[in-house]
């Protein structure tokens, strides 16, 4: 490792590159650092009575985490978030996966219209599309229900699921399916025995991506659930914010909300890249 670093010549370009890299690492790390720092701060590092807030807590403690985790409120919100996220996965995978397989394999009429509507759905800001959706859902009795929130989240997730799954199915050579057909496998059997096992990891990635999207979604949840009983984790955080509570509590909840997202994003970045570079961007 060290020898590899030595192989980089020390010239002006490399020095500038190295300094800029360190700078950007700091830019990326600072907010995360402060989130962690606040979440493990003790009382005296938060309420300093006019003194400067220390850059590292005087007595780092996990007390705030224990405090939050000892309250049923947090579990309730996390459970609601989980339930909505799983429903969202169910809906968007059931609707999206077959379609992406067909889109990847066959030429079908309406493909152009679908791709255009996919893009135009992304042209509408969330804040714009949620008002019609909220009004329609209120009329249909879907306001303030798990299924309503999941249907709305699936609308956001579907373009990503389509892009990610299309990429996966396109990467499976269609020769494999033809060979299976020659050996006498029916269409359903080919799908079940050949295509699905090969694409399983990719589909799991799409599912987890959908989970994350629903897990930290704020705008749709806020409009569809905000004033009712069902409170997802982001809404729980927002509600805490309006009571101006201690910063350590806010940041500890933020940590618990972000941790799964950070972990899965790093694991899944390979699959997400295809969806993002294709233009289906959050």
């Amino acid at each position: 490792m060290i020898r590899q670093w030595w192989r980089l010549h020390i010239n002006r370009v490399n020095v500038v590159w190295f300094v800029v890299m360190l700078l950007m690492i700091i830019v990326v790390a600072l907010p995360v650092y402060f989130m962690i720092k606040y979440s493990i701060s003790d009382r005296s590092s938060l309420l300093t009575g006019g003194e400067a807030i220390p850059l590292w807590p005087h007595h780092p403690t996990l007390r705030t985490y224990f405090y939050i985790l000892s309250y049923p409120d947090f579990y309730k919100a996390a459970f609601i978030s989980f339930k909505i996220a799983f429903l969202t996965i169910l809906i968007s995978m059931m609707v999206g996966v077959p379609a992406s397989y067909v889109l990847a394999r066959y030429h079908i009429p309406g493909k152009a219209v679908l791709l255009v509507s996919l893009i135009s759905i992304r042209l509408f800001p969330d804040i714009v599309s949620i008002i019609p959706v909220a009004i329609a859902f209120a009329k249909l009795g879907l306001h303030d229900t798990y299924i309503g929130a999941a249907l709305a989240h699936a609308l956001l997730a579907l373009p990503y699921v389509l892009y990610i799954c299309m990429g996966i199915f396109e990467s499976i050579p269609s020769d494999l399916e033809r060979q299976a057909a020659i050996l006498g496998a029916g269409k359903g059997q080919t799908l079940l025995r050949i295509v699905l096992p090969i694409s399983a990891t990719g589909l799991a990635a799409a599912a987890i991506y959908t989970f994350l999207l629903s897990w930290d979604e704020f705008i749709f949840s806020y409009f569809l659930l905000g004033l009712g009983e069902l409170r997802t984790l982001p809404l729980y955080l927002k509600q805490k914010m309006s009571y101006s509570p201690p910063q350590d509590i806010i940041m500890a909840i933020s940590m618990l909300l972000s941790l799964p997202v950070i972990l899965f994003t790093l694991v899944l970045q390979k699959y997400m890249r295809s969806g993002m570079t294709a233009g289906a961007v959050k």
């Binding site: 609707v95 008002i131 909300l257």
Partner: protein, 283 residues
């Protein structure tokens, strides 16, 4: 198999479109009779000072934020586009902002810029030994339109840098080393290589970053919602009209203007980028 997706997306699209048009053209004050069609909502928002300032703020947000996102993404992509040890780790590290939920990033900034006692105020007042005092008294960032929207903008750019980086990185890796080698044998300098090889060949990626990011800038809601409550963008104005004032008609009218602006700006940008590309490649 393909029909459910089609119906789902197109169905929602029609629903959104239908409600936006009918609600924005309905005058709620006129009672049940004769409320539709009416331009009262549009007339109301075009004379209101709030809408005008929100529109102007949003335009500035887009005009400043889009180039910033491109620059930030380009810097990150150029850093990664080099062979060096731990390259994969650094790239993964640069993706972290995307993995922090936007609402959390906004709240972190909210706390850092707290008034009167927050890290930024402490820093600027010289309360940390490594930084000189710039301010005498703490500054309330949230009470200033410029700073509160500026902080929202920085948060937005910070969070979305990785997306621009990934798009540009894909473009950079598609440029083969042969072209640089050929240029080097002809004695091209680093700057010439950037200007005559990297930039033209990267232009498609740059174009898609500008297009996608400008659309996202128009759409921004979460950062100004938490950081700039008093100074609205169009997105936050829609929320306020709908939730706080229960003026669904006006809210949808602003929505229609926002969507129209997005489409118009995307078309303009597309046209401009086409012209720019022609100009760049003619040389």
């Amino acid at each position: 198999m393909f029909l459910p997706t089609f119906l789902y997306l197109v169905g929602f699209l029609i629903l959104i479109f239908y409600y936006l048009v009918t609600l924005s053209l309905t005058n709620a004050d006129a009672g049940l009779a004769g409320g539709f069609p009416s331009l009262a909502n549009y007339r109301y928002i075009f004379i209101s000072a709030e809408f005008r300032s929100a529109f102007l703020n949003t335009v500035l947000f887009v005009l400043i934020g889009t180039p910033l996102e491109l620059i930030a993404g380009l810097v990150l992509a150029l850093i990664i586009h080099k062979q060096f040890p731990l390259r994969g780790w650094v790239r993964s590290f640069f993706i972290i902002p995307l993995a922090i939920p936007a609402i959390v990033s906004a709240i972190i900034l909210y706390i850092l810029f707290a008034y009167p006692n927050g890290h930024v105020n402490n820093l600027l007042m010289g309360q940390y030994p490594f930084f000189p005092a710039i301010l005498e008294t703490p500054f309330n960032f949230r009470a200033s339109a410029f700073y509160s929207l500026g902080i929202s903008l920085i948060g937005k750019v910070w969070r979305d840098m990785p997306i621009s980086m990934l798009i540009l990185l894909a473009g950079l890796t598609s440029i083969t080393q042969d072209q640089y080698a050929a240029a080097e044998t002809m004695g091209a300098s680093e700057r010439q290589k950037f200007r005559y090889i990297t930039l033209p060949l990267l232009l498609p990626s740059i174009a898609s970053v500008l297009l996608i990011r400008s659309i996202e800038m128009w759409k921004e809601f979460i950062f100004p919602y938490f950081l700039a409550r008093r100074y609205r963008l169009m997105g936050t104005l829609i929320e306020e009209l709908y939730h706080d004032w229960h003026k669904t008609g006006e809210a949808t009218a602003v929505s229609v203007v926002l969507v129209a602006s997005i489409i118009l700006s995307a078309i303009l940008l597309f046209w401009f980028l086409k012209r720019f590309r022609q100009a760049l490649i003619r040389i």
